[in-house]
Subunit: 93 residues, 10 copies
Amino acid sequence: MLYHVRMDVHLPPDLAPAERGDIIAREKEYSQKLQREGRWPHLWRIAGEYANFSILDVADHDELHALLSGLPLFPYMNIEVTPLAMHPSKIAD
Amino acid sequence: MLYHVRMDVHLPPDLAPAERGDIIAREKEYSQKLQREGRWPHLWRIAGEYANFSILDVADHDELHALLSGLPLFPYMNIEVTPLAMHPSKIAD
Amino acid sequence: MLYHVRMDVHLPPDLAPAERGDIIAREKEYSQKLQREGRWPHLWRIAGEYANFSILDVADHDELHALLSGLPLFPYMNIEVTPLAMHPSKIAD
Amino acid sequence: MLYHVRMDVHLPPDLAPAERGDIIAREKEYSQKLQREGRWPHLWRIAGEYANFSILDVADHDELHALLSGLPLFPYMNIEVTPLAMHPSKIAD
Amino acid sequence: MLYHVRMDVHLPPDLAPAERGDIIAREKEYSQKLQREGRWPHLWRIAGEYANFSILDVADHDELHALLSGLPLFPYMNIEVTPLAMHPSKIAD
Amino acid sequence: MLYHVRMDVHLPPDLAPAERGDIIAREKEYSQKLQREGRWPHLWRIAGEYANFSILDVADHDELHALLSGLPLFPYMNIEVTPLAMHPSKIAD
Amino acid sequence: MLYHVRMDVHLPPDLAPAERGDIIAREKEYSQKLQREGRWPHLWRIAGEYANFSILDVADHDELHALLSGLPLFPYMNIEVTPLAMHPSKIAD
Amino acid sequence: MLYHVRMDVHLPPDLAPAERGDIIAREKEYSQKLQREGRWPHLWRIAGEYANFSILDVADHDELHALLSGLPLFPYMNIEVTPLAMHPSKIAD
Amino acid sequence: MLYHVRMDVHLPPDLAPAERGDIIAREKEYSQKLQREGRWPHLWRIAGEYANFSILDVADHDELHALLSGLPLFPYMNIEVTPLAMHPSKIAD
Amino acid sequence: MLYHVRMDVHLPPDLAPAERGDIIAREKEYSQKLQREGRWPHLWRIAGEYANFSILDVADHDELHALLSGLPLFPYMNIEVTPLAMHPSKIAD
């Protein structure tokens, strides 16, 4: 099932560079593992902001929450989830 | 270039059914033509709302505006456009 | 799967009483059928407002959207959907 | 009497892990005691957020306030309370 | 039990004067009956607006909703309800 | 003259307990003195929040501001003032 | 006593020109009478909007409400009132 | 002096096509006359919306208001004005 | 030219008292100098808030920005500027 | 392609003056380099605020994001991007 997710990151500017680098590296690794598994099929940067729009493809709400709350950047994010249904005008892919 | 677009439709409940049906039929035809051309690669219904999230793929802002303002439902829509950049964690498709 | 839904109804005050009565009667029938099927397990009136909080239990986002967009009052409603996950502190029922 | 409550938790990311763990453990114990007493009949995680929707069942506003302000996480929460009335379309449970 | 209520009235300027006068007269009668019964102990006009702050004193949420949804101006109002608890600094009246 | 006031308190969770206790004790004393003088006739806790609705009865705007800015919790509060006029439907007390 | 007032006018574009002209002429007359009496000492147009900032000088909240609700444009306005106190840095006029 | 202006147009969808066409033609003529005079140096369409960002260059606030309130679309617009000052990092043109 | 300005001050409660006193003293001196020069003709305290409404009278936007950004409290303020035009109903002073 | 950008700067008041000076100097240098390259054709200070409106002229969304996220003040800014299309009433420059 598809979910539309907006994530806004608010890292404090005075975070120690090493800690910052570590979190971001772990976030990248975590995200790419999910992409390779097909559970994070789309990921776009919102131009000009430290934020993204994502499409996640998971079995249910519990899997979605586990996935999102496991993000290394989760404690620094605002997240907004929107469930997506099939659009009646959509042509077959 | 990719744009994220949210469209919210506000058709007046007392619109004549024939006019309503005509607008919606033309909207569907218009949307599907753009999908077949590859300019509207994603289209999802926001569950529970008369609204959608779309990804449009066009050459520039002028083509985007021409495309959106040509929607048969345009006079009845609120539209919000967000330009999308490549995300540094995105793996190759 | 559970979804939390807030519905706010905006019926125009000058709607013809017969039409108003008909819509509300059909809404009630529609809602009670879904309740009996177990797909609308909770329904509460928000005190002082023409609005409700509901919990819906359906298979997926598409079934949710079909259910909500089929409401006789749908053209007069603002609807806000929130997917619900299991809470780690929840005791077994 | 039933109250709908939304709780959003904002724990500072730099809270000491021991203190954090202690608060969360006490919150869980507090919540489960109230659930066993029947005063917190529903508790759902909002998918993707450190937040919940709850239904509380207490005698009056004073008991509600005592219950909520006693939450170990209360100093870190935004709380929004909505009183719930019986819905005229609700079928008997 | 006490509830704080804000009511904002939005009567269409082109409402027929007779109908307008009738609704307002019935609203006044309805409100004064409740005041005499002790169920509407405070009623203040918000200076400069067609709006009021009220304190209602009723047995429970259902009685509150019945009272508010019975207001002749209800179809023209936005209503916001806040349950009130005893304040720990309040001295005895 | 009557003023409706909403006060929201935002005490930092890491305030030293002694300082916190001292501010709250002085706030209570200050509030109760004003209540005994008849200048703070109503004070209600907003259920579930560290906030109150108050009715203040003072001679003019300057006295109101002096009273509110003298609150020991003033540096930690958001305050919203609404002047109250007589409502035409109000019955004599 | 001084009150700061923002007034936003929303006249429907399809109002009959004669009616529109009549309301605006009466509004001007009403406003200028109050200005000559010293009760409306300041009146500024918000550049680019059909709106104004005003300073009113009246005895109390009831006189303020009578004055504002008597405006010929009152049914078409949003009005926001803010009570003004003496500023400690203000020099004598 | 420079002013940044955002204009959002809300033409009712059921406006008679002839009237609509007439207003838009007069708006275009009015705008282009001001552009040729150098008083409206920049005009951009906000992509996907019936709205624009403009830079106006006029002598003072009164001239700005006269210019904007004279727009044929003024009764159908929301307008937001921001005065612009010289930026300390701006290089000479 | 006249500008309407709202200033909201957010001094951190834990600012050292000496530093706090120094900033406020310099702010007062700065403000009173501008008042004596006729550039800050009106200054009112918003009752109950650490905020003011001001009318400033300066030659242009650049002078306004220089004046406001020079306020000793500027780093702690939210400032909102509105340019004021002559109102057509204003009588001569 | 043109983008309209609003940037709001939130530098903490207690930032060390040397660090503050360094960031602002690097920001100025960065901005002026882009202006000289023609990629930042307009830059205006919003009067009374630590904020600007900018027009950026770059090849695509990716170049825009690289440019903005490279700003020395980026970690302290809120940024809002709006893509600009050609306006049908615009006369040739």
